[in-house]
């Protein structure tokens, strides 16, 4: 934590003292600012194009391509595309589904992966090195190769289904919320992030807590987790993004429209005649929660990533 905060505050301290700058430092500062501005433009313009195009009719989007008008809300600007989106797809249902799926995946992911990492980082038991290696080894297996076996497996699992006031067993998890959540709760990268962070917390804290009569779960809950805000924020964002962007898996396992997440909804607009304005409007709408989450957690997220990077 100390290293991390030192690293993040040093550049700010340098730029906050203009009076003491030499010419070389000033030139470097201008250069850095220009470079940053170029990067901002590079990364922000696609988003700006999306937002601006969402306000234009299809033909105008293409007419404006190749000029600065593509990035300006000029011409026949209206909210018609947004109205079209709400007419065409059950947007509220899709976004609610994605919020539920992503939210529950994040909450369970933080719980399960942090507990696994705690056991690996703080408890002493034979074979934990091997277990950690095995967990990390799963990182090299792309999800696409696991998709079909996983589909077969979830189709065999039993589930309880509410039928009025009674419960009935049903074979298969297809077309449910849990099939979109449970397979993605345990995550090797999240375990690794938590493991790395927990490993940096002084063990003396554990010993002090044990002296006070705390068990391992109390140490996890009352000592380690409260100190792990940046790691939790990073795992939350890194779990949320793929859950929110999930496309292949829900495509394979969800058949009912009322259970579909937002990314499947995007495909509704790709017909023989594509309404690009509506595509942009829908894309803008589904980007908002992601940007909001990032803004809420950005300080912790950047701190944790910087911390992980320094510790390599």
């Amino acid at each position: 934590m100390t290293t991390m905060s030192t690293l993040s505050t040093t550049p700010a301290a340098t730029t906050r003292a203009p009076g003491g700058k030499t010419n070389g430092t000033r030139r470097r500062s201008v250069l850095v600012t220009v470079l940053r501005s170029v990067l901002v433009v590079f990364f922000a313009f696609p988003i700006l194009f999306m937002l601006v195009s969402s306000l234009k009719p299809d033909l105008q989007i293409f007419a404006d391509l190749g000029s600065w008008r593509a990035f300006l809300p000029v011409g026949d600007v209206s909210l018609d595309n947004y109205i079209g989106v709400f007419d065409r797809v059950p947007f509220g249902q899709f976004i609610l589904n994605s919020i539920v799926i992503s939210g529950v995946t994040v909450a369970l992911g933080i719980l399960v992966n942090s507990m696994a990492a705690f056991a690996l980082a703080r408890l002493r038991w034979r074979g934990r090195g091997v277990v950690l290696s095995l967990i990390l080894a799963t990182l090299i297996v792309p999800f696409e190769t696991l998709a079909l076996p996983l589909l077969w497996w979830v189709n065999k699992l039993p589930s309880l289904e509410a039928d009025g006031f009674s419960l009935a067993f049903k074979q298969g998890w297809l077309d449910t919320y849990q099939v979109q959540i449970i397979p993605f709760v345990a995550n090797a990268f999240s375990v690794y992030l938590f493991y790395q962070y927990f490993d940096s917390i002084p063990r003396e804290l554990d010993e002090a807590a044990r002296m006070d009569g705390a068990g391992w779960f109390a140490i996890y809950r009352k000592v380690v987790m409260p100190l792990s805000g940046p790691a939790i924020a990073t795992v939350a964002i890194l779990t949320f993004l793929p859950a929110w962007n999930s496309y292949l898996w829900p495509l394979m396992v969800v058949q009912s429209e009322e259970l579909r997440p937002v990314m499947i909804g995007l495909q509704y607009f790709f017909q023989m005649n594509i309404s690009w304005g509506q595509v942009m409007a829908y894309s803008s709408l589904i980007t908002i929660p992601v940007v909001a989450l990032f803004l809420a957690f950005q300080r912790s997220f950047i701190n944790s990533i910087a911390s992980s990077g320094v510790k390599g």
Binding site: L167, L174, N273
Partner: protein
């Protein structure tokens, strides 16, 4: 928790468990006296016009009898095929599916769909391209077809001084090239021609393989569908490839066009547009003097693709008789007309066309029906088609990018032949 509360909780759980077990034991027989459910999947999600027609047919069928209830599940088009393949992998196929025409043979071979089992005379008067046949048996039928066409403006052709081609007298290859040179000479457009070269996926096979066929080549030897040798790398195919790339070399066409060639044409970026008749409304809305032109005769007559979305009976359907009953019920001119009116594409039967003013004799869209009837070449009806199509897509892209046509086509043939061989000729 107090002892009393624990007792209440335990009793509640017991009641729930018993209720659950009771529900389990009666779950399978619950619907024994009611109508059987037939699930139907469609790719029309997001296309309200088409989906409304599907729902209307289903409502009519459900109201017409009390033995079966058809339930519709819609998917967005681009996600549909993957959803069906995933469902087949987990034995969760519905009873009725819609299937894109060129995939019919593959889905039949893969065991996703079965012969429809309807009398042959059911399909009298239907455009052949709208029937999914495998070994002569009908596996699927469609309500509409699409046609490839060229669009321009009368004023452009007049300024360029070229004649308007007709169905009876389409442009020859020389006339077509002359027209491109003259439109290019107007120096009013970025490119004389837009063939949607920025398109990807099936568009490449659907759009450009008819041109290959018009030269005299083909995607595969259709005598037995066992090899592409000679068809895709013979002298005619080579000539097509050189002509195709030549359009870019001569500056008539972009190597990679914009994302939406119709929008670019309407915005005045090209003088001639080659696309499907789904662009009809956009072009005619934009220009009072829009003209629809047949594709050129590049050697063996004008050719266009055929085969759009069709309905089929899924393999493993427990209510196959009911599903057949639905498919027979739905094959009614009334519904072909409704489809034609809703989607604006070519109605699949002549009877339906006669009831839709735009497609009736003398109607403004009749040309599409005539082209579908006279020039359509069904994409190869072989289970290997999806692979052949993917290979052709890569070959066409490589040719457009300036690769050596002969080596590209030879490699494409080798890839296709290897796939057919590895799959035992797709005969079982």
């Amino acid at each position: 928790m107090s002892r009393r509360n624990r007792r209440i909780a335990a009793a509640s759980l017991s009641v729930l468990a018993v209720a659950g077990l009771a529900a389990c034991s009666s779950g399978t027989g619950g619907n024994a006296d009611g109508p059987a459910t037939i699930s139907l999947w469609t790719h029309a999600g997001g296309n309200d016009a088409e989906l409304d027609v599907v729902n209307g047919i289903v409502e009519d069928f459900n109201a017409s009898q009390d033995q079966y209830v058809v339930e519709v599940q819609d998917f967005p088009q681009d996600a549909y095929n993957d959803a069906v393949v995933a469902a087949a992998s987990s034995n969760n196929l519905p009873c009725i599916v819609d299937v894109d025409g060129p995939n019919v043979a593959n889905w039949a071979w893969a065991g996703y769909i079965q012969p429809m089992g309807l009398p042959e005379d059911t399909f009298e008067g239907q455009l052949e391209g709208t029937l999914g046949r495998v070994d002569g048996e009908v596996y699927a039928y469609g309500y509409f077809d699409v046609a490839l066409a060229m669009y321009s403006r009368q004023s452009i052709l007049d300024d360029a001084g070229v004649r308007v081609p007709t169905l009876e007298e389409p442009w020859t290859k020389d006339e077509f090239m002359d027209a491109l040179a003259k439109i290019d000479g107007l120096e009013q457009y970025d490119y004389a021609l837009d063939m949607g070269t920025g398109g990807t996926g099936e568009w490449i096979s659907y759009g450009y393989s008819p041109q290959l066929q018009s030269f005299g080549g083909d995607l595969v030897d259709r005598s037995d569908f066992q090899s592409a040798e000679g068809a895709l790398n013979g002298p005619e195919a080579l000539e097509w490839a050189q002509w195709f790339r030549g359009l870019v070399d001569d500056g008539y066409m972009a190597q990679t066009s914009g994302e939406d060639s119709t929008a670019d044409f309407v915005n005045g970026k090209s003088g001639l547009l080659f696309t499907g008749n789904w662009a009809d409304t956009t072009v005619k809305d934009a220009f009072d003097d829009a003209v629809v032109l047949p594709p050129p005769d590049l050697g063996t007559g004008p050719k266009i693709g055929a085969g759009s979305w069709q309905w089929a009976l899924a393999e493993g359907c427990e209510e196959a008789d009911g599903a057949r009953e639905y498919l027979e019920f739905a094959h009614d001119t009334k519904y072909f007309v409704e489809y034609g009116n809703a989607v604006g594409l070519i109605p699949a039967t002549l009877d339906a066309a006669a009831e839709i003013p735009a497609y009736a004799e003398g109607g403004e869209n009749r040309i599409y029906l005539e082209m579908a009837d006279q020039f359509a070449v069904v994409r190869p009806e072989t289970p290997a088609y999806p692979f052949i199509s993917s290979v052709f897509q890569k070959a066409a892209s490589d040719i457009l990018a300036g690769g050596d046509p002969r080596s590209i086509l030879d490699k494409a043939v080798a890839d296709i032949d290897r796939d057919i061989q590895q799959n035992g000729g797709y005969t079982s």
